[in-house]
């Protein structure tokens, strides 16, 4: 009724009540919100979007690994049919820069190209065909410069300088102080000399790990639409809408309120859509700026393979010592990550690598030295695991070597040295809660039948086939940690409608991992709603505050906490309203499932729907913004110590493999993965992460390899870059272990990345158990396995040594 005053007096705001328990949506196996659309093919991805007057952009990439750009001739391209603009670095109205850890990545190379694939020009035309044809008419005059492709060579005095010294904003993760050295980091704990002195057995080895391509099903794609009010709206696939937001504003030289970024679809990210989407968006925005029309850029699979980021190849020199009884005494490691031509995220990938190098074990003495190095190759950036697969492969391999030398089973060696609450990691970080590592070891061993199989497979042989089981363990620091904390925050916006339905906006991205589903579950739980009443929307930078990137397995924890913050504010209003309805103080009430009830007399309750309807009518604020910071972390570069991450996920993988010792082919029969994730908000989705990550890990372990010659990728396609197919998938057993984390929503920790991390050593340790041959490099292709068998004197047709 217009003009009438409030029907209900407003009660004072009660304090928040604790999490309802038992939960009605959290912990349930609910169907993913996007499942049907994806299965039916109705989900929309970057290339599905179209706009009136849309133009298409094609990039001209460098064909040289290292060269001075003498001239870029664009006249012929400009005259080609349908061409609207041909753009180069000098056409950036703002800065020709993609802001990341260090300010070195240009949107388009200006006077020097650093790798085969550096963008040098962009052609905007009426159709993709016209853009494609015209792009071939752009001629670039290069003066080749000496190039360097190997990390150790790049650090030698006199090496060609790919990346001159440069420094980033203070505290922002790193500075390269020497030529070609993006970052140098150390971890130091205890007295190393004394540690090796105390050891009865010392093992020293060198390991290598390869590039890995993300192989997301959707290639990079963005459209930038200039709107009539001067706003540039950007739509596309990405993990980090706020990175794109900043990049587009800086490239165009406009304030950030003139840019709006909307994340759509996103057919897989795996880290590959963390930093590079800013380049794609920057180019599309540049095209839109110059033509005044919507401009779309979608990379072909080949372009995407050749120019977008990859996992860092690594060289690891590792030395460990232990006492006769298996007690670990010291670890010393030197690590080189091949960062490629630009720093992108290498400084912080290195941070995660060195802080994870000692694994989930108790070491009295540790010294890790890590280098992130520049070479004239494709820049490496974020990839699920973020620098950890490299160090885990080395550590978990050498622990098996050590176990063999000590005559101790690899499982027992790990059990003996596994961290528990109260222990300190290699970074000297004390672990205060949520350490379920030992339980993952025990559960994985039990579910996989590790001990019997270890025994049985010692002599197992069927023709040329041998079997073995192997372990691969890990820990993973959830969130951005101390070197990323300056961007580590999240926001959310929650709006309740009078009909009892709810809209949630978050600043983190759904990319197939199920984030929107998990966030809807949390909101439904917090507000006493049925799951079907909550809709979580795709990210839009105009609706929520900067929530940082959707990386580092942080989104469930961070966005989940921000949503809880917002919901807590709304819940206080709802309890106040329910207090009036039930005639009790709001403090005496709690939300239980889809009801509000009196704590002391649970039979006295009102349905949440009725409470919401009345609260809406009373014009209560049923909308709120939430905001959260992570628990504090710190790192000292000088001491090489710190509280590197707020909490860790722990996991144990057991891989069972059958090797054909004549062909060197390895078939993974079963893979059991036990993960302590604190609490599974949706066990089905958590298992999906574990299975998918394990399969991607098997690709890294067995088949995936980028062949690069003089900076040119020789296999930029799925016919020759070999990812696993359904036929290659073993029986996957996901085991969820729950040691709740007090700082996570409902106790949850992150699960996005850990599933891929420990697979490779589990596979190669199993291959070693099966054949007697140790792989010091992955992937364990048949070529490498047969070579290792020959080199290590394990003959194909002999009995395998027991």
């Amino acid at each position: 009724m217009p003009g009438s005053g409030p029907t209900y007096p407003l009660a004072t705001m009660p304090p928040d009540d604790p999490t309802p328990t038992p939960t009605h949506t959290v912990g349930q196996r609910l169907e993913r919100l996007d499942a049907r659309a994806k299965v039916l093919g109705t989900a929309r991805y970057a290339d599905d979007l179209t706009f009136p007057g849309l133009l298409h952009l094609k990039v001209v990439f460098s064909t040289q690994p290292h060269a001075r750009v003498l001239a870029i001739r664009t006249d012929a391209a400009r005259r080609a049919p349908g061409v609207r603009a041909v753009l180069t670095a000098k056409d950036c109205p703002g800065e020709n820069l993609i802001p990341l850890v260090l300010p070195d990545l240009t949107l388009m190379a200006a006077d020097r190209v650093r790798f085969v694939g550096d963008p040098v020009a962009a052609v905007v035309a009426d159709t993709p065909e016209a853009a494609h044809d015209a792009a071939r008419l752009v001629e670039v005059d290069y003066e080749p410069l000496p190039a360097v492709f190997d990390v150790l060579e790049a650090l030698r005095p006199g090496a060609p300088v790919v990346a001159p010294p440069i420094s980033g904003p203070a505290g922002h993760g790193g500075a390269n102080t020497a030529p070609n050295l993006f970052n140098l980091l150390e971890v130091k704990k205890g007295d190393l000399a004394a540690g090796f002195e105390a050891a009865d057995v010392v093992v020293e080895q060198e390991y290598r790990t390869p590039y890995q391509a993300h192989a997301y099903l959707e290639t990079q794609g963005m459209t930038c639409v200039p709107e009539p009010d001067g706003v540039f709206a950007v739509y596309g696939c990405m993990q980090c809408p706020f990175y794109v937001h900043e990049a587009v504003a800086r490239v165009l030289g406009v304030p950030r309120h003139r840019v709006k970024v909307i994340q759509v679809g996103t057919g897989g990210g795996f880290g590959g859509k963390e930093d590079v989407p800013s380049i794609i968006a920057g180019l599309a925005a540049l095209g839109a700026w110059h033509t005044g029309r919507p401009v779309k850029l979608v990379l072909s699979r080949k372009e995407d393979f050749e120019t977008m980021s990859k996992r860092h190849p690594a060289l690891v020199r590792l030395k460990v010592g232990a006492k006769e009884d298996g007690t670990l005494t010291a670890l010393e490691e030197q690590l080189w990550l091949d960062g490629g031509a630009y720093a992108t995220l290498s400084p912080v990938v290195l941070y995660r690598a060195v802080t994870h190098a000692a694994g989930p074990y108790r070491w009295p003495a540790v010294h890790v030295t890590g280098h992130a190095v520049a070479t004239n190759k494709v820049p490496c950036g974020a990839f699920r695991g973020f620098g950890t697969l490299q160090v885990i492969f080395a550590l978990e391999s050498i622990l098996d070597e050590l176990a063999e030398r000590l005559g101790i089973d690899p499982l027992d060696l790990r059990l003996k040295n596994a961290v528990r609450v109260g222990d300190a990691l290699g970074t000297n970080q004390a672990l205060t809660e949520s350490v379920g590592f030992i339980e993952t070891l025990e559960r994985a061993a039990e579910v996989s039948g590790y001990r019997e199989k270890r025994e049985r497979y010692r002599t197992w042989q069927e023709g040329p086939k041998r079997r073995g089981v192997g372990l691969g363990c890990l820990l993973y620091g959830v969130g951005l940690g101390a070197k990323g904390k300056f961007i580590d925050r999240t926001g959310a916006h929650v709006q309740l409608y009078p009909d009892g339905s709810c809209a949630v906006s978050i600043g983190n991205a759904e990319m197939g991992q199920g984030l929107r589903t998990v966030i809807s579950q949390i909101a439904a739980e917090e507000l006493g709603l049925e799951f079907s009443k909550v809709q979580t929307f795709d990210g839009d930078t105009s609706r929520v505050p900067d929530s940082g990137p959707t990386v580092a397995s942080r989104a469930t924890v961070m966005a989940g906490n921000a949503v809880r913050d917002a919901c807590g504010q709304i819940r206080r209003e709802l309890r106040a309203e329910a207090g009036l309805m039930l005639g009790v103080e709001p403090d005496a009430l709690e939300v239980f499932q889809t009801w509000v009830r009196v704590k002391a007399a649970p039979e006295r309750r009102v349905a949440m729907n009725d409470v919401i309807a009345r609260a809406a009518h009373a014009r209560r604020a049923l909308t709120a913004s939430g905001f959260r910071l992570p628990a504090d972390t710190w790192w000292s570069d000088d001491e090489g110590q710190g509280k590197a991450y707020e909490v860790y996920t722990y996991a144990t993988n057991v891989c069972e493999v059958e090797v054909d010792v004549e062909t060197g082919e390895s078939r993974v029969i079963a893979l059991t993965a036990a993960h302590d994730i604190g609490r599974a908000i949706n066990p089905t989705l958590a298992e999906g992460q574990i299975e998918g990550g394990a399969l991607q890990g098997l690709g890294f372990a067995l088949t995936e390899e980028v062949h690069i010659d003089q900076g040119v990728i020789k296999n930029p396609r799925f016919a020759t870059y070999i990812i696993p197919t359904a036929m290659d998938s073993p029986e996957l057993k996901a085991v969820i272990v729950e040691h709740p984390y007090s700082g996570g929503p409902y106790g949850a920790k992150g699960i996005g990345e850990p599933p891929i991390m420990g697979i490779a050593p589990a596979v190669t340790n199993a291959i070693k158990a099966a054949t007697g041959a140790r792989l010091f490099e992955c992937p364990a292709t048949p070529e490498r396995v047969t070579e290792a068998m020959k080199a290590q004197g394990v003959a194909a047709r002999d009995e395998v040594a027991v």
């Binding site: 065909e129 494609h132 062949h707 016919a719 197919t725 290659d728």
Partner: protein
């Protein structure tokens, strides 16, 4: 693919196809299942020109048994082969090759004519067809000619097929009691191109004496190759383990494969010994039933 398809023709009969081929000027490309040519076109490896879609031509389909031979239309797909009990019984090497290739979706489109005309040294049906002594029938408005499959290939992707000719069918001699096998190694379990392959078809006496044998190798030379020295070694001798191993080693010593993104020359050479030995061993298993 942009630019490579200048126009597409869809003849209604083989005669119309042949007259079209005779009249056309400039580059022309037959399109059967498209599983090779579309991939190449996308990579810009197909000269811009006229495409002729032969997939709808039912005249080129069908597996026909005659007294002395089995005829396979050029458009017979790998799935057709896989579903034919006749071919499983009498052309086992070919059946094995089609069963192993690609994955279901690919096999549903992949034709034998396309696999042969594509002339890849890694084409899986080709070693099998060598071992079966297949003949390729090429037809043009000038007439039809029969080319033994081994004489068809002149290099990777190169054949003696003239620009106005099309493969119309393949024929396999029917040999009573022949057993066959095809084996390959790939980079993964499905959707992989062979790194090395071997096919063997033989008639074996009751005591496993080799009466006649043809052995062919894939992916180890610019074209699929026969292994005549192996066939000579086997002739008249009983297939026992020592002989099979020797045959494998002999086959390996006769090839000079290359290193590429799929494998290395060392591995390929060593694996020739394994796949040949194993193919022969499965002949024995199959002869014994």
């Amino acid at each position: 693919m942009i630019g490579t398809v200048q126009r597409i023709l869809r003849p209604k009969s083989v005669d119309e196809l042949l007259s079209t081929l005779a009249e056309l000027q400039g580059p022309r490309h037959l399109l059967a299942g498209g599983t090779d040519i579309l991939v190449k076109a996308k990579d810009g490896k197909v000269a811009p020109g006229t495409w002729i879609d032969v997939w709808p031509l039912d005249e080129l389909r069908g597996v026909t048994a005659h007294d002395d031979r089995i005829d396979l239309g050029a458009n017979v797909t790998m799935t057709d082969v896989e579903r034919s009990p006749l071919l499983r019984a009498e052309a086992r090497a070919l059946w094995d090759a089609c069963y192993e290739a690609g994955a279901v979706q690919i096999r549903n489109r992949a034709t034998l004519g396309g696999n042969v005309a594509n002339a890849s040294p890694a084409g899986d049906s080709i070693p099998a067809l060598y071992s079966l002594g297949a003949t390729v029938h090429l037809r043009s408005v000038r007439g039809e000619r029969a080319v033994p499959i081994e004489a068809l290939f002149t290099g990777p992707g190169k054949t003696v097929i003239a620009p106005d000719e099309a493969i119309v069918r393949l024929s396999l001699p029917r040999v009573r009691g022949a057993v066959g096998a095809f084996l390959r190694l790939g980079q993964r379990k499905a959707q992989a191109i062979s790194k090395v392959s071997a096919a063997a078809t033989a008639t074996l006496g009751a005591d496993l004496t080799v009466e006649a044998a043809r052995v062919a190798l894939g992916a180890v030379a610019p074209t699929v190759v026969r292994a005549p020295e192996v066939e000579r070694l086997l002739a008249g001798r009983a297939l026992e383990p020592g002989l099979m191993a020797e045959a494998g080693e002999l086959a390996a010593s006769g090839v000079t494969p290359i290193t590429d993104v799929r494998s290395t020359k060392v591995y390929r050479r060593e694996m020739v010994a394994v796949v040949v030995r194993r193919a022969l061993a499965s002949l024995v298993d199959r002869r014994r039933g």
